[in-house]
Amino acid sequence: MKREHQEAAGGGDRRGGEGNWYVAAEQEKGKALMGTDDGVDELLAALGYKVRSSDMADVAQKLEQLEMAMGSSAAANDDALLAHLAFDTVHYNPSDLSNWVDNILSELNAPPPLPQPPPPPPPDDPLSLQFDLPPAVTEQYTIGTVDLPDGSPCKPADVDELQPEASTASSGWLISQSGHQPEVAMSLRDRKRLKVCSSPPSSTITADAATAAAAQQVVIVDSQEAGIRLVHALMACAEAVQKENLKAAGAIVKQISVLAASQGGAMRKVAGYFAEALARRIYRPQPPRGMGCSSTVESAALDDMLHHHFYESCPYLKFAHFTANQAILEAFAGFRRVHVVDFGMRQGLQWPALLQALALRQGGPPSFRLTGIGPPQPDNSDALQEVGWKLAQLAKTIRVDFRYRGFVAASLADLDPYMLLGPEADGGGVEDDEPEVVAVNSILELHRLLARPGALEKVLGTIRAVRPVIVTVVEQEANHNGRAFLDRFTEALHYYSTMFDSLEGGASPPAAVEVGGHDQAMAEIYLGRQIYNVVACEGAERTERHETLPQWRARMSRAGFDSVPIGSNAFKQASMLLALFSGGEGYRVEENDGCLTLGWHTRPLIATSAWRAAGDPLSTSASCRTASS
C-alpha cells in the first residue's frame, strides 16, 4: 500500500523498534496522512492551525499569491500594502488559516484604501478613560470604559432633577445644546415591568457529558515548599470529603488554617476561603438557603455591591464589557434601529460606553433600545429602573435616541421571546420601515442555568427566537462543573489562586491606592462567595457552574449557533485597556479560535465569545454588511 511506502520512505530500517518518541511521531504522521474524521490536518492542528486537508492546496496557493503581492510591493519600496494589512485590516481567527488568508486576500483585492481624514476626536471627555488609540480607521469604532455620570452605582435619580441637570452636566461633552433635543423615549408611563416567578423546568434531562478533556492549567506563582504543602493539604481534605470520610476531612481542615497562616498574600487568602468552604461542607452538609449558595432575594443587593467592587479592582469585567460591546457594535454597523437585551443588567456599567460609541458612529447614531433583566430586589426597590434613568440621561446628553425597559425575572429561564421583543419589534408602527436588529448580551450569567436541567436549552431557544444578529457571551474560563467533587475542587483551587494572585499583583496604580485597597478586599469577598458556592453547595444551589470555551462551543453549536470570530481590532484595544492595570504586567489577552480570553500570565480566566443563529438569513446579511462596511 502507498502508506507503507511512505513510512518506509520516511523511516528506513535504522529506526525499527526504537524509543517510543519515534513511534508516537510515526503515528502522528500516519494520522496526518489519513486526515481526521472532519478532515482537519493533524500535523498542523498540533501546531494550532486548523486546515482541512482538502483545503491545503487552496491555502498554499493563496499564501503564494500574498507572498508575490508583498514581494512586488516591497520591491517597489511601497509600504502602503503592508501598512494596510497591519493597521486597517481587522483579522479574524488566525487559527482558521483558510479563512484568515482569504480575508487578507480580499483586502488586497479591494480597491486601495483612500487616505481618510481621521474622525473628529472626541472632545475632552470627562467620562471616558482615553486610550492611546491610533488615529482611527474610520469603520472601526472604539469603545472606552465610561462611568455613569455620578460614578456611584446605586444612587437613585430623581425624575424632576433629571432634565436641568442633564444640560449642565453635558457641557464638556460632545454636543452643544441646541434647541433641537430629541425626546428621551422612555417615560414612566411607558415603562413596562414584568415580574415573573420561577416555574419548575419543563424538560428534565441535560445530558451533560463533561466534554473536552479539559487541560489542567497550572500556573505556579509561589513555588515555595510551604505553599505546595498547603495545596496538598487542601487537596487531601477535598479527597477525604469526596470519599465521605468527614472525620479525616475535619482533621485536615484544621491543619490547613495553621499552614495558611504561614503563607503570605494571595495564597493565604485563597486557602482561607477554600478551607472555610470545606469546613461548611464538612460540618453542615445541608447549609441553609441564603448562605451564598444561590443568589437569593436577600443577597441580590449585596451581590450587586460586591460585583461593582470587583468591576473596579481588576480588569476582568471591564474586559468583558469592552469586548462584548465591540462585537455588538460591529454587528450593528449600518443598522438604524438596534436593540440590546442584557441578561444581567445589574448597574448597567456596560452600556455608557456602547452608547457613546453609537453616538460617534459614522452616519449618526441609531435608535437604541435596551432591555435590561435583573433579579427581584429584596426591598422591592426598582433598581433596574433607576439604572435605566441614568442611561436615559446619558443618552439624551449625547443625543442618542434611547428607550429602555427593565424586566425583573428570578431566572432567565422564565423569559419568553415575546417579552423581550415587545410589540415594537414586529414593525407594527408607521415609522418602522427599518427593521430592528437585536443583540443578546450575557455576562457571567449562562452558567447559572446549568443548575436547573433544561434551563439553558430553554434560554438558548428563547435567544434563537428573537433572531439576534449577535449573541455575546462572557463566561469564566474554567471547568467548575465536573462530575466529581475533587475535580471541581482542584480546578477551582487553581482558578481562584490565579485570580487572587492577579488581584494582588495587578493592584491599582498608586494614585488610587486608598480606594483600590477597599475595592480589592470587596472583590475578594465577591470571589470568595463563588468559591463557597463551588465547594460547599450541591444540586440546584450550586449555581457557579463555570465551564470552558470548548464546552460552551459544543453547547452553543448543539443549540444551533455559529461562532462569530472577534477580531484583532478588539484584541488590540483590549490589550491597551490592560495597560491601565499595573502597566498590563501579568495580564494577557489571548485569541483562542475566534474568542478572546483575558488571563493572568498564561492562565486564561475569562472568555468572550460571540455567536449567531446558524443559517439565519438576517444574521448572515448582517455579517456581510459588517464585513463589507
Binding site: A9, A32, A60, P94, V101, M235, L486, T602
Partner: protein, 450 residues
C-alpha cells in the same frame, strides 16, 4: 533550445491554474496539486500520493545518476528541458506534469507514476509561509513592531498538568521581581494518573537515576513567539519524550521593546534558577545535568548564556543550537545566494538585528558575531561542548559555519550536523528525514554527555 527557465515556469504555472480551475480536484488530489505547485515546496516525497524518491535501489540509483549529471538547482535550465520532454511524452496528464513543476525536483517513471523529490514538504511550506506573512505584517519598516497584532496572530496553548503522551507541563514564575515566566515540561509523575492532583509530585525528580534538564530558548529572531507558542510547546514536549528530560522553556523578553542584553539576562536567570531547584538535580552526586538549547535567536541566547555559565563556574553539560541566529557586517555567499529563496531575506535579518542590538551598534557586535572583529575568545574559558545543526537552505548558514569554526579554533568540542536540503523550521514538523535524523542526533548528544 529550451526557453529561459522563468518563461517555462510561468507557462507551467498558468497551465496549472487552468487545470486547477477546470478540474477542481478534491481531497488527496487537491493536496497533491498543492504540494506540487508552489515554489520552494520541494521535499523528499510527495506526502499525498505517497511516492518517494527513496524507494528501492533502482530509484536511489536514478537519483544519484541525475545528481551526477547536473545539480537540479532552481536555476538550472536542465530540469526545464526535462519537464518539457515529460510533457511531450505524457501529453499532460496533470499530476505528473505538476510533479515536474517543482524546480529542483527529480523525477523518474515508476510504473506510470512519477517520483517526486521536493525539498520543502507542503505542511512545512504552509506553516512557514504563514509565519512569514504574519511577520511581514507586524514588522514595520521604521523598526517598530506591532506587538498587539503579533500576539493576536501567535497561536498559543495553555500549560497542561494532565499527562498527554506521558508529558505534563505547567507555568512557573521563576522571578517575581522581573516577572520572568517559564513553562516546565516533564515526564508525568507516577501519581499524576489521578487528574485531580496534578500538583502532587510536580516538584519531585522524574527519575531516581540521572536525567537531563534542557533549558530551551524559543526562536523567533528575538522578536516573535513565547514559551506558550504552539510550535514550541510541541517541540518541547518532543524533547521530553526524546531524552527523558525536564524541559524549561524560558519566556524571555523580546525585542524591539527589550533589546540586548535583556534576552541573555532572562536566559541566565533561568539557568541560575534551575541550579537552585533541588528536584532538578539527579544522580548519586546530586548534580544539575543541564543542556542549553534553542533555535534561531534561541540558539544565539544559548551560546551567550553558556559563556556566562563558563565565566561563573556553572557546569553546563552541552549546548544544542538549531539553526542559531548569528550574523555580521559583511555579506556572505549563502546570504547572497539564498536571499529570498527559502522564506528568509537578508532584509528581514537586518531588521531583527537592528531591533535587538544596542542602539547604534552594527552587526559585528559580539552578540551577533561572537567570533568577529569585536568578539572575545573562549580559549581560556571552560566552555561546554556543542551540537550545532545547520540547514543548507538557510541563508544564515555561513555565519553558523563560521561559529562552528570559531569554537574549533578556541579548542572547544563541537559537532556539526549539516543538512544540505533542509530549510529553516524543518524541526517543527515530523515530515522529513531531516527531522528524524536530527532528533536522533540530539538524543545521542544528550545521552552521551549526561
Amino acid at each position: 533550445m529550451a526557453p529561459p527557465a522563468d518563461d517555462v515556469r510561468g507557462l507551467f504555472r498558468q497551465e496549472l491554474r487552468i487545470q486547477l480551475l477546470e478540474r477542481r480536484p478534491k481531497g488527496k488530489e487537491a493536496a497533491c496539486f498543492a504540494s506540487l505547485c508552489f515554489p520552494n515546496s520541494i521535499s523528499d516525497s510527495c506526502r499525498y500520493c505517497s511516492v518517494s524518491a527513496h524507494d528501492g535501489g533502482k530509484q536511489r540509483g536514478e537519483r544519484q545518476r541525475v545528481e551526477g549529471m547536473d545539480v537540479p538547482s532552481p536555476s538550472s535550465p536542465w530540469i526545464w528541458d526535462k519537464i518539457l520532454e515529460f510533457v511531450e511524452f505524457l501529453r499532460c496528464p496533470v499530476l505528473p506534469v505538476l510533479a515536474m513543476l517543482r524546480f529542483g525536483c527529480v523525477a523518474s517513471d515508476l510504473g506510470g507514476f512519477i517520483l517526486i523529490s521536493m525539498v520543502v514538504p507542503l505542511h512545512t511550506w504552509v506553516l512557514i509561509s504563514n509565519f512569514k506573512l504574519a511577520y511581514n505584517m507586524v514588522r514595520r519598516p521604521d523598526g517598530t513592531f506591532d506587538r498587539h497584532l503579533a500576539e493576536f496572530l501567535d497561536r498559543k496553548v495553555p500549560a497542561n498538568a494532565s499527562p498527554v503522551n506521558g508529558v505534563v507541563s505547567f507555568d512557573i514564575l521563576i522571578n517575581r521581581a522581573s516577572n520572568l515566566l517559564a513553562r516546565i515540561y516533564r515526564p508525568a509523575p507516577p501519581n499524576s494518573s489521578h487528574p485531580a492532583t496534578p500538583l502532587a509530585g510536580l516538584h519531585h525528580p522524574p527519575s531516581p537515576d540521572q536525567f537531563p534538564v534542557i533549558i530551551f530558548y524559543h526562536g523567533g529572531s528575538f522578536a516573535h513567539s513565547s514559551s506558550n507558542t504552539a510550535i514550541y510547546d510541541s517541540l518541547c514536549r518532543r524533547f521530553v519524550s526524546l531524552c527523558g528530560a525536564v524541559v524549561i522553556s524560558v519566556d524571555y523578553r523580546r525585542s524591539p521593546e527589550y533589546r540586548y542584553p535583556c534576552a541573555y539576562d532572562d536566559g541566565w536567570e533561568a539557568l541560575k534558577w534551575a541550579s537552585t531547584e533541588p528536584w532538578l538535580h539527579s544522580g548519586k552526586d546530586s548534580k544539575l545535568r543541564v543542556f542549553l538549547c534553542g533555535d534561531s535567536s534561541g540558539g544565539n541566547i544559548a551560546h551567550h548564556v553558556a559563556v556566562r555559565a563558563a565565566e561563573s563556574g556553572i557546569d553546563v553539560s552541552g549546548n544544542i543550537l538549531l539553526n542559531p541566529m548569528f550574523g555580521g557586517n559583511r555579506r556572505t555567499d549563502s546570504e547572497v545566494r539564498l536571499d529570498g529563496k527559502y522564506f528568509v531575506t537578508i532584509q528581514d535579518r537586518d531588521w531583527y538585528w537592528k531591533a535587538y542590538l544596542p542602539e547604534g551598534a552594527d552587526r559585528d557586535h559580539p552578540a551577533c558575531n561572537p567570533f568577529g572583529p569585536n568578539g572575545g575568545t573562549l580559549k581560556e574559558l571552560p566552555f561546554t561542548r556543542s551540537l550545532v545543526i545547520v540547514a543548507g537552505l538557510d541563508l544564515v548558514q555561513d555565519w553558523q559555519l563560521a561559529y562552528v569554526e570559531g569554537l574549533k579554533k578556541a579548542g572547544k568540542d563541537v559537532k556539526l550536523v549539516y543538512r544540505e536540503q533542509a530549510t529553516i523550521g524543518f524541526y517543527l514538523l515530523p515530515n522529513t528525514d531531516h527531522f528524524y535524523e536530527v532528533m536522533e542526533e540530539i538524543k545521542n548528544f544528550v545521552s552521551s554527555n549526561l
